[in-house]
Symmetry: C2
Subunit: 518 residues, 2 copies
């Protein structure tokens, strides 16, 4: 076992919150101190069972797959190579989708003058409490403190003022990949960290209609990415005013159900109206010669997606990654006892995989200093979709053993068909992960009309609850206070349905989705 | 002219320094205030001639090609889409080279506890004076201030302590793409900014030899990238102790000559010895069972490379980008007077470029609201390597006009050979840019043995001067104080040559390269 745990020495830094959620320990300013938390009962793999402690399971999966680690500064995260490789795959696909829809990348600065943040009233109210402030630079106190960007609308629109003069400059469709900082008190690897990586799109348009179209176009891209690549089905819809982005006139979101039936907001697309254009005096000359304020959108997804990916598909044996996003899709493990056997097996494997370079992301694990069983375990924990085993006996039989990570199914397949069969399994696994996640959501989405029943079920088996709501802030506040659940999304395209608000009994025209959320 | 300057409205924020260099204006803490500096005598294109004012020319090229802009916070930069697209091309090639040599990417946090920076004595001495400090977060004062990373050795090695236990964990070859902050007083777009983007590699090795090999392997990658992709010839060599990275035992660098004959340090690769392993107590168990400190390297290139690219190849008409890094390699400008003509010309162009999607990065500029002459000018300023013009008369002649950006050469070529000819021109231009830059360096590198002559020529025509130096810090300091030039690199592979130190007359075994530098 010593080898097994060789690189897993820093214990996860976590404690349980009263609501069963997990948060990092330590006071906000403690630095570099790790508390050895109770690790719970773990399998031989070092992973707690989901059924025993879902939160600890999540942290164990991350640790065992070497996805991330806690940084010396509380709430910050180190994304380890295995985790970052998933992020790179996500970035590549999203970046392609953004570019195909006409967006270009740029880079805006990390530091924003405090006065800029204050120019949009709602925006500063929403973000000021969670800002990190730079007060000293080069050994001197600054006259005006600088905000470490929590999001970049204000600095972007201060530049757009110079870049946009005429309708010819519109639409302006810019995205950036960057780090942002929000001073969070309760953090959780990937899901909520003080610093995180994300993309933030900032677009400028000549009309309200175009801005709304863009907002929904991006929502569509996010949904397609989540479902086609992450195999994570999502609901789309609009957020309530309470949950809206600070400074937006409407926020749309994609929401997924995790395996513990909690909701995860996985991406948001905001229609900002003319709020930021007015705050930063960004006007353009229209084709007819009039001077008008510009219309805006902003939208983002972050490394939180990796948390969503983990909680959508992984199991008690560790990480499961959908083939389309897996940094490594296939691992081939040769088995041998003597050097002669190794060379015969390796020769065969090299031949069989000769055409794979442009087909799969694969690795042949022929390391001498680890045994096959250890390797199986290691790649299983890391979520590699397909494992192929081949030993001296397989040379005679003309077969190999193929194991699918999600089902654990072990098959003997003909060496002649190894490439086709691998391809088929990868496609099947991608679809199967999506189907399983969709079935979970469908089997755990309920229409409920009684408030007591809602409270009981939210605190019992959980799920997504479609309930009537009167659209008022005070009943939303009450719902949240009394159930610890929130309204996740409203679907504006759904036909109206007469009903009674589950909280107040007042008339309601529409159901909303209520769930406990990350 | 109104259209022409439509998107060039923010004046460059620059003043001349006494030594002829340029720096941003404003006191260190002024924010969002732009001084309208004297713009000098410009061509119709809005670009000052190099011969009139090289520094202003540099800023004009950046402004006219829309590469970058000054941010509201002094010394920070906004990288505009045209500039960022070049950075993306650079990243793609470098990232490929790093991965091909076994490196993986990860992400370490932006914030470092102040106490960590202090663990390596030389390191803190070098970096503390230029740090930005976060003292408040979430509305509260922090117990320990956080440093916004100026470089990440300290946080990386604090993690490596947990990740490295055994020789099996080595070598650890990690790179990250990130932003860093150094509180610079005299900034210049791309060349020296308070925040910049870069990659920083941090590797850990079992032996001193392996660390030295890695240091030189990366130096080789940097040289290959600079020469093959940027078409920018570079000298490689080791830095003097004075110029060494704070905490390194040796720093290697690539140095290029800009068109004004100044040197630009374009990338550095450091052998860190065991300094950081000792500071952070990072030991490993060797194959023989002993416990030893780990050996380290770190290395980086930054958005400064874009400044080097601009100053290597651009001319009085604007930006020139080598084809291999050009976001857009070919622009096709159709010419027409009537709608019928447009449709005939466009039909022909679509046919001729049908096979181009996987061959070139190209664009057909068929915008109605700009005239061809305006388009020629615009793409010229943006540095697109090849422009192809085609009008109704060319339909009859079966030819097109092809213009190469670097030479301005205008040729009529047969439409049948448009793809091959374009390909040939792109290859030729890449080579020609390199040859021209190499010739500039060779024609302006001199061996000088008289100190007065050196001073005179450094302040006259400039160049790289190969001079004898006794290897002592005090003569290096005197040289710098008296000439404003610095020792750029020493080439340890050069055969020894007996001579006399140009400053002191003391014996010297080797020449070093002295130049004024950015």
């Amino acid at each position: 076992m010593a080898i097994f745990f060789a690189t897993f020495t820093k214990p996860t830094m976590a404690r349980k919150e009263p609501d069963g959620q997990i948060a990092d320990t330590g006071n906000p300013y403690s630095i570099g101190v790790f508390n050895y938390a109770h690790q719970g009962k773990k399998m031989a793999k070092g992973i707690t069972k989901r059924s025993e402690d879902y939160s600890q399971w999540y942290l164990d999966v991350i640790a065992q797959a070497k996805l991330a680690d806690h940084a010396p500064v509380r709430g910050c995260m180190v994304i380890r190579p295995n985790g970052y490789a998933i992020w790179e795959r996500m970035q590549a696909e999203l970046d392609r989708m953004f570019k195909e829809s006409g967006h270009v990348n740029a880079y805006f600065p990390l530091f924003i003058p405090e006065s800029y943040l204050k120019k949009e009233a709602e925006h500063v109210e929403g973000f000021a409490p969670e800002c990190a402030m730079v007060t000293h630079g080069g050994g001197k106190k600054l006259e005006e403190p600088l905000v470490v960007r929590p999001t970049s609308e204000t600095v972007v629109w201060s530049m757009y003022k110079d870049w946009i003069q005429s309708y010819r400059d519109l639409p302006l469709l810019i995205n950036q990949w960057a780090n942002v900082v929000r001073w969070e008190m309760r953090t959780r690897l990937f899901l909520r960290t003080m610093e995180f990586l994300w993309q933030e799109g900032h677009t400028a348009h000549a009309t309200a209609e175009e801005a709304q179209e863009e907002t929904l176009r991006i929502l569509g891209i996010y949904k397609r990415f989540a479902e086609e690549f992450m195999a994570m089905p999502v609901l789309t819809g609009v957020k309530t005013e309470k949950e809206r982005f600070a400074g937006a006139i409407n926020t749309y979101a994609i929401e997924a159900m995790m395996q513990d039936k909690r909701a995860l907001q996985a991406g948001t697309s905001h229609n900002l109206g003319q709020n930021f254009a007015k705050a930063f005096e960004v006007m353009f000359q229209s084709e007819s010669g009039s001077r008008e304020y510009v219309w805006a959108t902003s939208w983002g997804v972050s490394t939180r997606l990796i948390g969503g990916l983990i909680m959508s598909h992984s199991d008690d044996n560790g990480l499961v990654v959908p083939p389309k996003l897996a940094p490594l899709q296939v691992v081939v493990v040769p088995i041998w006892k003597s050097d002669d056997e190794k060379s015969a097996v390796m020769q065969k494997i090299d031949g069989l995989t000769a055409s794979w370079k442009d087909k799969f992301r694969y690795k042949i694990d022929d390391r001498d200093n680890y045994r096959p069983g250890w390797k199986f375990n290691e790649w299983e924990k890391q979520g590699v979709p397909i494992r192929i085993e081949m030993g001296p006996k397989d040379l005679e039989s003309g077969e190999v053993v193929l194991v699918r990570r999600d089902t654990g199914e072990k098959e003997r397949i003909s060496q002649d068909r190894i490439t086709e069969e691998t391809e088929t399994r990868l496609t099947a696994m991608q679809q199967s992960l999506f189907d399983t996640a969709l079935a979970l959501r469908e089997n755990n989405t309920f229409e409920v009309d009684d408030y007591d029943e809602l409270k009981e079920r939210l605190n019992g088996e959980g799920g997504f609850f479609r309930v009537h709501w009167n659209g008022k802030r005070d009943s939303e506040d009450r719902l949240q206070a009394e159930t610890k659940a929130t309204i996740r999304v409203m679907n504006p395209d759904e036909p109206e349905e007469a009903g009674k608000c589950i909280v107040t009994g007042e008339p309601s025209k529409r159901r909303v989705v209520v769930a406990k959320a990350y």
